[in-house]
């Protein structure tokens, strides 16, 4: 799935309204604090949740996206949180782009629900049609597309969560092992060590790529190994095979288990694993990549995503000069907020101005009045 155009207006009590925007493969959202970058990413992530886990969200979305070679337009509007009545979808139109025309697939409002020219029986008005009709052949790929939107949180708690001990689920091993299906690993609710363990057994090349990049960022990592918990903590038994990703650093004989890694090391390993497991057409959202990272880990990322030969769409926010300088302005989306109205300007439009100066792009960006006025 690739999001080509996006417009969202929250219909909750805050009622944020974002400019309509056309996205690219790599999208760097820049702007002063509180200009709405994270909120925009939340609306995108929430839309994915609305479709896949039926988590109702108040809002109005107009989205053009491409999945498996087909372009779709989807307009979805719920009632407003202020309005009377229960949570419900009031309008939904899904169309396919064919020869520069829009071919309707779903037309839905308060009174009618038409799918492929057929009137549908009464269905839950709390659920999106993509969710309700996910078993239909022409809707299934769309549902799959929305399930590939991934956002990671990198708080201390979140990083601890992915590095805790977990017994390797047998069901996932059999599914992944027999079918060689990486998507099963993507959807599996497993910690990092379990995922790395399965990769090391069934997807050796993917595992090796992750390790190579990890060692590129942290060259002091001499060796890596997936050990059984009992080798690390003889006093703990979890009743099953519990893999623990470990490393040994240069000049040390000690094996360091993942839960004792620094936050930055855990974060990099998690991002690398996520990205290489993410199925083709995935969307990966990273809010403030630079948090908890040292210089070498920050330096690594922009070139990594620019060089990545994988069909993944990135949405990243950053305040860091290196990240902003390293990602071309044509990939920037500059945020400015006036009350609840969030204006978004394309970095592309700044290039002509920027090229007249030798100042670094980051310096020019933070001096740009649209950026520096931040929130008004």
């Amino acid at each position: 799935m690739k999001i080509l155009e996006y417009h969202c207006r929250a219909l909750d009590q805050l009622a944020w309204d974002f400019d309509s925007v056309k996205f690219d493969n790599i999208n760097l959202l820049v702007g002063d604090t509180a200009t709405g970058k994270t909120r925009l990413l939340n609306t995108l992530f929430n839309l994915g949740r609305f479709v896949t886990v039926k988590e109702f969200k108040y809002g109005s979305w107009n989205i053009v996206f491409e999945h498996a070679g087909i372009t779709y337009t989807w307009d979805l509007q719920t009632n407003s949180q202020d309005s009377d009545g229960e949570e419900r979808i009031v309008k939904e139109n899904l169309s396919k782009h064919e020869n520069q025309t829009l071919v309707p697939i779903i037309e839905r409002n308060d009174k009618s629900f038409v799918f492929a020219d057929r009137q549908m029986p009464k269905l839950s008005s709390r659920e999106t049609s993509i969710s309700l009709l996910q078993e239909e052949d022409n809707i299934r790929p769309l549902y799959q597309g929305f399930s590939r939107i991934q956002r990671r949180l990198f708080s201390e708690d979140a990083l601890m969560q992915v590095s805790t001990f977990q017994v390797l689920p047998k069901r996932v091993i059999s599914q992944v092992g027999t079918k060689g299906d990486l998507e099963k690993l993507f959807v599996a609710d497993m910690n990092l060590s379990c995922k790395l363990c399965i990769l090391s057994r069934h997807f050796k090349k993917v595992y090796q790529v992750i390790i190579d990049y990890f060692r590129q960022v942290f060259p002091f990592v001499q060796e890596h190994s997936i050990k059984e918990l009992s080798e690390i903590q003889p006093n703990i038994a979890l009743g099953g095979y519990c893999p623990v990703f470990t490393i040994r650093e240069r000049g040390s004989k000690q094996w360091i288990p993942i839960h004792e890694f620094s936050s930055g090391m855990k974060k990099i390993l998690l991002i690398l694993t996520d990205i290489f497991i993410l199925p083709d057409g995935g969307v990966y959202i990273i809010d403030e990549y630079e948090n908890s990272l040292g210089v070498s880990a920050i330096d690594f990322f922009p070139q990594f995503i620019l060089d990545l030969e994988k069909n993944v769409q990135f949405f990243i926010t950053s305040h860091h000069p290196y990240i902003i300088n390293a990602i071309p302005p044509s990939n920037w989306f500059v945020f400015h907020r006036n009350g609840m109205k969030v204006s978004i300007r394309y970095g592309e439009d700044l290039i002509r101005r920027f090229e007249s100066s030798k100042q670094e792009y980051f310096i020019q960006l933070i001096n740009d009045p649209f950026f520096s006025r931040g929130v008004e």
Binding site: P321, R352, R353, S356, S357, K358, Q359, E360, I363, Q364, I366, N367, D368, P369, S372
Partner: protein, 218 residues
Amino acid sequence: MNIYVVTEGKVESIVYQHWIPCVNPSLTHVSSLIEVNVNNFCMVSGMGYPGYFKIIENAILDVNNNRKFDRLVISIDSEDMTKQEKYDQIHIFIANKSCCVEIKIVVQHFCFETWALGNRKIIKANTKSEKLREYKRLFNVRVHDPELLPEEPNEKLNRAQFAEKYLRLALNDTFRNLTYSKGNPQAVIHSKYFDQVRNRLRDMAHIASFGDFLRAFI
């Protein structure tokens, strides 16, 4: 006359836009090099990020390449240095760089807030804040030259930190609900505030480094 101005922090990037036309009303601010035409000034600020010398270096390249400018003004805080030491540091840095226009160095001794403390109207005789009374006992900027402000020993503030806190307290004490920070210096941008600072230099010969600012834009 077109002037390229390089400033170090965020506060100058906001205040100078308002104060430069107070010095020279013929100058109008523009926000990018391509907008520079006649009697404009264009500013680039480091916004407090490291790498100020790189910005100066690139500013010299910009004035050489664009050929639109008549002057380059470099503004910098002296911080813990003497005014002369900071001036020499910049002068040595630019000495071997070829620049096609004159360069004027403005050393804010020792920071922008030192100048802003030059406004005697913000220091009332009867201050409500106990902390401000304490600061005045330590060093009364209404009477003495703010450039001579010492460090604050009780809170272990260096003189730049002391000046910023002193200014914030004074503004807040004199004008209720008026606050000051480097990112939000709206309280000091007005031409009446600028006039008071200029008067301090003229009438009492205090904040001498502010004179360099005035001369840089005439």
